[in-house]
Amino acid sequence: MAFDHEDLDLVRAPRRMSADDAHERWRNSTGTLGDRSAYKRVWDRQARDFDVASLAVAGHTDEPTMDLTARGFIDTLRATVGLDRNDVVLEIGCGIGRVGKLLGGECLQWFGADISGGMLGHAAARLQGLPNTRLVELSTVGLQEFPEDAFDLVYCTIVFMHLYEWDRYRYVEEAFRVLRPGGRGYFDNYPLDSEHGWNVFTEGARYPIDRRPAHISMASTREELGIYLSKAGFEAVRVVDLPNQLIAATGRKPGQGARRRP
């Protein structure tokens, strides 16, 4: 289902709540690890209130911080895979449109795809007035809604930690399909071998086995991300360390029209 901005009447007005309330509601909305593969249900449940949704996908609820982190990510894109005003861009797992709100102004057209229609409802409200943005609800894991050879850049940020490994690879494969020849792919996650990644891992390990939440973060290894991109067919695959303690795997779809990374 594709959202246009006319769908805004479906979006509930954001209801402000205290940070403690938001955290409490988030904890109550996350489900258990057995639900992890039911991404649509898990993330729709966390999308019922804007503050909870914001906390779930961005880690904070205030707009200035959200814009700041989005700006930082756009700089990361520029430094790793490059960004051009003529780029047709797809974000996998765009959530509430944290990045799209700013990136929409820096590319030809930005498409935001997410498996949670609830998250996209909030994104539609935040992207109001940006005519070159479009939101698409994914029916399941994958990018079935999109044609092949269409995008200059496909990226997926702060998403892989919430997916099982098979689904991470599925998105890499699908990104490769929808990229035009020469198009660039970007995927990030916490690295297991960093201090932060190890903290994420040990925090997860501390959960009682029957109370691990469905969205619990799971780190990646550098090899894992590199292998995904290579197996999917990307060339010029690189795994780079980012200043925010993430690692990013980048690559280019082979074929005519390939251009040098800036």
Partner: protein, 237 residues
Amino acid sequence: MNPAPDDPNLRIAALTAEIDDVKRREAAFRAKMVNEFLDRGERNSYLHVLREELAGLLRRQQEAFADMELFTRMLEAEGQEKAALEVELEGIRRSWLWRLCAPLRASGSSPRAGSPVPPGGSPVKGGVFTYYLHTSPFRIYREPTFTLRGWAWPQDGRAVSAIRVDLDGRLFVGRHGLEEPEVIERHGPQPANPRPGFEVTFETPPGRHLLSLEAQLEPSEWRSIMKTSIWCVPPGA
């Protein structure tokens, strides 16, 4: 393209701008392509896959009905051949040679009787109809009644004024004049039969029967749309 200026730097700048413009137009084309792809509606989506599967199942169902019809025709042909052979056998039994050899066959068993062939079919003449049956009659009937639903019109353009089923001479009158908007959309307006749908319920007592689906055409002539043998078994059999 503008005439190239003499200054090489200006020429480079002009060419770069031109290349950028081409890139922008190419990217705009791809963005438009994606938007149109999305506008066409859920293509490649899970819902689309389900719709494709549904269409495939409907096709398969129609193929199965066609297979069943063929099977029924073959069975009818076999039945007719069997009847002809029985007539021939009866002729042999009446011959003097058969009677002469009777003592030799005294210890032998007589051929088993086959299932009774139903009495002659409906006397109504066949007609040329365009029709489709939503509930195929080519099946094993396991319920005490069955409702045949479909649509039909005669190709001579006359109006259908009634629908019935003749089952071994028993008549079951149905409803006609039911809406079939998708059929009209596909085949075009049918002035004499704007609502070509019908349904007729008939009893299905165990055994083999001859079924004739019939339409009354104006002014009052009955014509058969299709005829077939049917087999009915007791419920649960």
